[in-house]
Amino acid sequence: MTREFTAPEVEFVGVTKQYGTGRAVLEAMNLAILKGEFVSIIGPSGCGKSTVLKLISGLAMPSAGTIRVDGMTPKNARETISYIFQDATLLPWRTVRRNVGLALELEGASSHRREEKTRALLDLVGLRTVADAYPRELSGGMKMRVSIARALATSPRLLLMDEPFAALDEMSRDHMNEELLRLRAEQKWTAVFVTHSVTEAVFLSTLIVVLAPNPGRIFAALPVNLPQPRTAMLRTSPEFDALVGQVSHTLREARSQ
């Protein structure tokens, strides 16, 4: 993935976010995320990782600075954005099928298009057999798949993910990582991914942004030039290990700031 010749999908210029009169959660942040990139945001807790996503989505407004998403204000760009939360946020009274169709339903898609799209997505994430089950009957990993399918239903160009696999065990998490890359290869969205896991960040990303706390700011931006497409095999390669080591080291430095 080359970083030249592509316009920024997300642009932060001098963005500060402060709640009330307290210390800034984020201070004077400049960031450009290019189309087609997979950017992971990693950092010690309290450094404003989730706030970055809230700002991109327009769920929070910056105290200073400007944010552009595809050249528009975040709120105007919402049609092209999907947000995946840490918990799957499925509506428990809806079946899997109707949960996947929710975003389309809210945006007023015809029931015909909704059904067609929902069916295709359920196949894509491997949930066809549980289409009529209710969320409480599903495992954590399956719930997250439903959440991803729902987010992809509106054909987003930008996918915001806030530690979506934090609650999963390592095996399921690795598997979901591979699935996520497979979906991305097919659909070519740009991704901003918040995580605590260094290996996850290295495996998924084209760029890792390390934040430092108090106030939250960018400490380092590390490109990940591992070959695409990435498969499970990559995790056992020496280059992968070296990068994990490098990111972990940077993260420790950021923490001691």
Binding site: S57, L59, R78, S82, L91, W93, L106
Partner: protein, 263 residues
């Protein structure tokens, strides 16, 4: 299944023991029947006066059900107003507390004065007494939606109406049923209490509360017991009716509505 049979059998054994104790007390202390009739006399009274019991039962059931249904409709409407803003809730919530704390026996004579004796005032009393738990629980359900779920709706440009009808209202259904369950019990109590005051517009014919008053004045203690028994049956029927609807609407998706397992 076997477990259930054992539970049922032991419950019946407790009942039998209680009846036996009852009979024993009568024999040992030589209690006169107008103070405490024997279980057998009560059973006989039920058989002999079944038509009037049925009439009284039907009248009270109708009043309590009318009051309950009205309180569900009004309670949901008020909860929807309460859910609009914290400010509205702060302003109006003390008055729902008032609704809950004013002793119904104290305002019953007023209602009787304003509305007149009979079914209408009793229904009104049942309505007033069952309104507060429905407002409180439904409001709680409407406002306790997870923040991320609201964010999800906002991300897909949901209208306020969509947030209300596709998110807040369905989310509030389990709490609404909790409210209805509480209200169903007190609506029966409200109707019977109301009848003690506003009993009947026709002499000699009224609901359970009215008949209880009448039976006690006539020292028909066996019939009085039969009426108390009927009132209990009415309370139970309301409770199970609500339980059934709750199960019907919620069992597929909500944890609380699964059939409770017998330990």
């Amino acid at each position: 299944m076997k477990q259930r049979m054992i539970t049922l059998a032991s419950s019946l054994a407790v009942l039998a023991a209680a009846l036996l104790l009852w009979q024993l007390i009568l024999l040992v202390f030589r209690v006169p029947p107008y103070m405490l009739p024997s279980p057998w006399a009560v059973a006989r009274a039920v058989g002999a006066r079944l038509p009037s019991l049925e009439t009284a039962f039907a009248i009270t059931a109708e009043e309590a059900l009318g009051g309950l249904l009205a309180s569900i409709v009004a309670g949901i409407a008020i909860a929807l107003i309460f859910a609009q803003s914290r400010w509205v809730r702060r302003m109006l919530y003390p008055y729902t507390l008032l609704l809950q704390t004013v002793p119904i026996v104290a305002i019953a004579p007023l209602i009787l004065m304003w509305v007149g004796a009979g079914t209408a005032s009793v229904t009104l009393i049942a309505f007033i007494i069952s309104l507060a738990p429905i407002i409180a629980n439904t409001t709680q359900g409407l406002v306790s939606v997870e923040e991320n779920m609201v964010h999800l709706f906002l991300m897909h440009n949901a209208s306020p109406a969509q947030v209300l009808f596709k998110l807040r209202l369905p989310h509030a259904v389990p709490s609404l049923f909790t409210g209805i369950r509480i209200a169903s019990g007190i609506s029966v109590i409200g109707a019977i209490t109301g009848e003690l005051y506003a009993g009947s517009s026709r002499v000699g014919e009224g609901g359970l509360g009215y008949s209880i008053l009448y039976a006690s004045s006539q020292l028909q203690t066996d019939y009085l017991f039969a009426l108390v028994f009927a009132a209990t049956v009415l309370g139970f029927s309301f409770f199970f009716l609500v339980m059934f609807f709750e199960w019907y609407f919620l069992h597929r998706w909500h944890e609380s509505a699964r059939t409770p397992e017998v330990e």
